[in-house]
C-alpha cells in the first residue's frame, strides 16, 4: 500500500472520511423520504446562523472537548477508554456534592472546588478499570462499558433515594446555591456584545481551552507524556526503558477519568445548576468520535469538538423544525466514527491511488 504524505494523512483523510459520512447520511435521509439539503440548512442555520445558535454549539463543544481530551490521553497510552460516559456522570456527582456542601459566596471560589470534585470523582471511576487492566489484564473496553452501566445505576440510586429533596418527584438534586452560578457567555463583558440573549455556553469553555493546551504540554513536553506515548506505541519497549506499565496505565486512566469528570462543570454546574439523571447525554461516547476525528491531538480535538457541537445542536434543531427525527444525529455520529476510526484504511487506500509514485522503468 502506498504511504501517504503526512499532510494528506492528517488533513485529507479526516476530511474525506467526513465527506463520506455526510454522503451516506444524505442517502439515509433520501431513503426515509426527507430532503438532505433542507436538513443541512436547518442544521447550519440553527447551529451557526445566530449568536444564539453558537451559544448552544459552543456549549456542547465544551463538553466534547473534555471528553475528547479524555479519550485522547488514554489513547496515547493505547488504552481505549469507553468509560467517559460513566466518568462524566460521576464527575457530575462530584460537582453536585461540592456545590451543595457549602453556601458558596461566589463562583470564583466554587469553580475551583467543583473542578477538584469533578476530577476526583471522574478519576475514581476510572481507577478500578485501570487497576484491573494493570494488575489482571482485564480488557479495559469491556470493564469501562460495564462501569458506565454501574455509574448510571449508582446515580439513579443516589438521585432517587439520597440526594432528592423531600417532596420533589423527579430524580434530581436540589438546585445549587446562587453563588455557584457560572457566568454564561452573555454575562461576560465584551462577549455580551455578541451573545445578547441567554445562552448555555459558559466560562467552562475557557477551562476546556486551557485543558487543551495543558494536554498538549503534557503529551509532548513532559517526561510523563513521553512515557505514556512510548508505552502506548510499544509496551515491550517501554519496559526496556524502565517505564512502569502499572504506573502508566494508572496515571493515564486517572487523567483521562479526571478530564471526563471535569466535563460536569459545563453541563451540571454551568447549565442546569443541579444534577439530573443522565446529565452527560452521551457526551462520553461522542468523545471517542471527537478524539478519532481530531487524530488524538488537542488542536484536532478542539476542531472536532466544535464540529460535533454543530452536529449536536443542528440535530436538536432538526427535531424542532423538521419532521426528521432527532436520531439522525446519532446516525451521523456513528458514521463519522465508522469512517474515521474503522474504515480509515479504506480512505487511505483510495487516496493511495493518487499518491502512488510513478513506476520506475525496470531494466529487463
Amino acid at each position: 500500500m502506498t504511504k501517504l504524505p503526512t499532510w494528506a494523512d492528517v488533513v485529507l483523510v479526516p476530511l474525506i472520511s467526513l465527506a463520506l459520512a455526510a454522503i451516506i447520511s444524505a442517502f439515509v435521509l433520501l431513503g426515509i423520504g426527507q430532503s438532505p439539503t433542507e436538513a443541512f440548512w436547518v442544521m447550519v442555520d440553527g447551529a451557526l446562523g445566530s449568536a444564539y445558535g453558537w451559544g448552544y454549539t459552543l456549549y456542547y463543544a465544551t463538553s466534547f472537548i473534555f471528553t475528547g481530551l479524555a479519550v485522547t490521553v488514554a489513547f496515547h497510552g493505547s488504552l481505549f477508554n469507553i468509560g467517559g460516559e460513566g466518568q462524566a456522570q460521576l464527575g457530575g456527582l462530584g460537582v453536585a456534592l461540592v456545590c451543595l456542601a457549602l453556601p458558596w459566596p461566589h463562583w470564583t471560589m466554587a469553580l475551583p472546588a467543583a473542578m477538584v470534585g469533578a476530577a476526583l470523582f471522574g478519576a475514581a471511576w476510572a481507577a478500578i478499570p485501570a487497576l484491573l487492566q494493570a494488575k489482571r489484564g482485564s480488557h479495559i473496553v469491556i470493564t469501562t462499558i460495564m462501569f458506565n452501566y454501574i455509574a448510571s445505576a449508582l446515580l439513579i440510586y443516589l438521585l432517587v433515594n439520597v440526594l432528592r429533596p423531600a417532596g420533589q418527584m423527579d430524580p434530581a438534586t436540589a438546585n445549587f446555591p446562587p453563588g455557584t452560578h457560572l457566568p454564561t457567555l452573555n454575562e461576560i463583558p465584551i462577549l455580551n456584545l455578541i451573545f445578547t440573549k441567554k445562552v448555555p455556553a459558559n466560562i467552562s469553555l475557557f477551562v476546556a481551552l486551557i485543558c487543551c493546551w495543558l494536554v498538549w504540554l503534557l503529551m509532548w513536553r513532559t517526561r510523563l507524556g513521553y512515557e505514556i506515548r512510548a508505552f502506548g506505541k510499544s509496551e515491550k519497549a517501554a519496559t526496556y526503558a524502565g517505564i512502569s506499565s502499572f504506573k502508566i496505565i494508572m496515571i493515564a486512566m486517572l487523567i483521562s477519568g479526571a478530564l471526563s469528570g471535569l466535563m460536569a462543570i459545563n453541563n451540571v454546574m454551568g447549565e442546569s445548576g443541579r444534577l439530573v439523571q443522565n446529565a452527560s447525554e452521551g457526551a462520553g461516547f461522542i468523545g471517542i468520535a471527537v478524539a478519532l476525528m481530531g487524530r488524538n491531538h488537542p488542536l484536532g480535538v478542539l476542531l472536532a469538538a466544535i464540529l460535533f457541537g454543530f452536529l449536536y445542536q443542528g440535530g436538536a434543531e432538526l427535531g424542532l423544525w423538521t419532521t426528521i427525527p432527532i436520531e439522525l444525529r446519532t446516525v451521523v455520529q456513528g458514521l463519522v466514527i465508522l469512517f474515521t476510526g474503522a474504515l480509515d484504511q479504506m480512505v487511505r487506500m483510495m487516496l493511495g491511488v493518487f499518491f502512488r509514485p510513478r513506476p520506475q522503468a525496470r531494466a529487463a
Binding site: M169, D170, P171, K198, E271, N278, E281, L320
Partner: protein
C-alpha cells in the same frame, strides 16, 4: 414526557388534544419530544424563543425547569400538566387521578374471579401512588377482602417506557393470582396490556382510552383528559388564564371508558354500581383519599 408521543397513553393524549385544536382552527403547533432530562430546558427556551405562545408541557419533570425559564419569557404563557408551578405566566393543570382510579378499581373488583387484582405503576413517585391508592380504595369498596398486588417498573423516567418489564411484571402478578391488572405506566403499559391479553386475563388501560388495543381483553381504561387540557390551553391561546386548574370527575377531567370494545365485559350491575359511586363523588358525598396530600394510603401499604 419521556414515554414518547406514541405511548398510546399519557403523551398520546396530549398530542391528540393539540391535533384536535389544529384541525378545528387550522392553527399550527410545534411539538418537541424529549430525549433526556438535560434537554428540557433547551427545548423550552427554544420554543419560547421562537415565539410560540402558549407553550404547553406535559409531565411533572418540567416543573423545575419551568420555574427557571418562565421568568425569562414574561410575555409567553405556559401551561403545565401534572405539576403546580407558581409563576405569574403559568397555568398548572392537575387531575384527580384518585377519583378515576377509584372507579376502575370498583370495576376490577367486580370483574375479578380470584379476588386478587394487580396494579403496575411506572416510575415510583407520589403521583403514581395516588393512582394506586385510589384504585385500592375502589377495589376494597366492592370487596373488602380483595388482595391487591402492586409493582412499579422503576424509579427513573425510563420506567415509563419499558414494555418488557411491564410484561414480565404482569406475568408475575398473574402467577400471584391477579386476574385484572391496572397499568398506570405510560408506554410500559403496552407491555402489560399485551401480556395480560396473552395470558388470558383482563387489564385496565390508563390516560387515553386503550380499550381498542386488545378488544374484549381490556376491561376498561381510566381516562385522564390530558387532551382536553391541552386543547383548552391552545384554544385560549395568548389569553391563557394562569393559575391552578383542577380537572376532577365533576369537570370530566377523569373518568372510565366504555365503548364497543369492552361493552361485553361490563355488566349492567357493574355499570350501575360505578355510576352510583361517581355520582356520590361528584356530589362530594364520597371522598377518595389523595395520596399526595399526606403521603399515605389507608387502603394500601407500599
Amino acid at each position: 414526557d419521556l414515554g414518547g408521543k406514541f405511548d398510546k397513553s399519557f403523551n398520546e393524549a396530549a398530542f391528540n388534544g393539540a391535533q384536535r385544536w389544529a384541525q378545528e382552527t387550522g392553527g399550527t403547533f410545534k411539538e418537541l419530544e424529549m430525549q433526556s432530562e438535560a434537554q428540557r430546558e433547551q427545548a423550552l427556551r427554544r420554543l419560547a424563543e421562537s415565539g410560540a405562545n402558549p407553550v404547553v408541557m406535559t409531565g411533572f419533570a418540567f416543573g423545575d425547569v419551568l420555574n427557571k425559564v418562565a421568568p425569562d419569557f414574561p410575555e409567553t404563557k405556559f401551561a403545565i400538566v401534572d405539576m403546580v408551578v407558581e409563576q405569574p405566566n403559568v397555568r398548572s393543570v392537575v387531575f384527580t387521578e384518585n377519583e378515576g382510579s377509584y372507579l376502575v378499581g370498583m370495576l376490577a373488583a367486580q370483574a375479578s374471579k380470584t379476588g386478587t387484582v394487580g396494579f403496575i405503576g411506572g416510575m415510583d413517585i407520589p403521583l403514581i401512588r395516588k393512582f394506586a391508592c385510589g384504585y385500592a380504595e375502589g377495589v376494597k369498596a366492592v370487596n373488602p377482602d380483595a388482595k391487591i398486588v402492586v409493582n412499579f417498573t422503576g424509579t427513573t423516567p425510563a420506567a415509563w417506557n419499558d414494555p418488557v418489564k411491564g410484561a414480565e411484571l404482569a406475568k408475575g402478578q398473574k402467577a400471584q393470582g391477579a386476574d385484572v391488572i391496572y397499568a398506570a405506566a405510560g408506554g410500559t403499559g403496552i407491555g402489560v396490556l399485551q401480556a395480560a391479553a396473552d395470558e388470558g386475563i383482563l387489564s385496565i388501560g390508563v390516560d387515553s382510552n386503550q380499550n381498542y388495543l386488545h378488544p374484549g381483553k381490556v376491561l376498561t381504561s381510566m381516562l385522564k383528559r390530558v387532551d382536553n387540557a391541552v386543547y383548552e390551553a391552545f384554544k385560549e391561546g395568548t389569553e391563557l388564564k394562569t393559575g391552578i386548574v383542577v380537572m376532577d370527575l365533576k369537570a370530566e377531567g377523569v373518568g372510565y371508558a366504555l365503548d364497543d370494545n369492552n361493552r361485553p365485559l361490563i355488566t349492567a350491575d357493574m355499570e350501575a354500581a360505578v355510576n352510583a359511586a361517581a355520582g356520590k363523588i361528584k356530589a362530594g358525598e364520597l371522598k377518595v383519599h389523595d395520596y399526595m396530600t399526606d403521603d399515605s394510603c389507608p387502603a394500601l401499604k407500599f
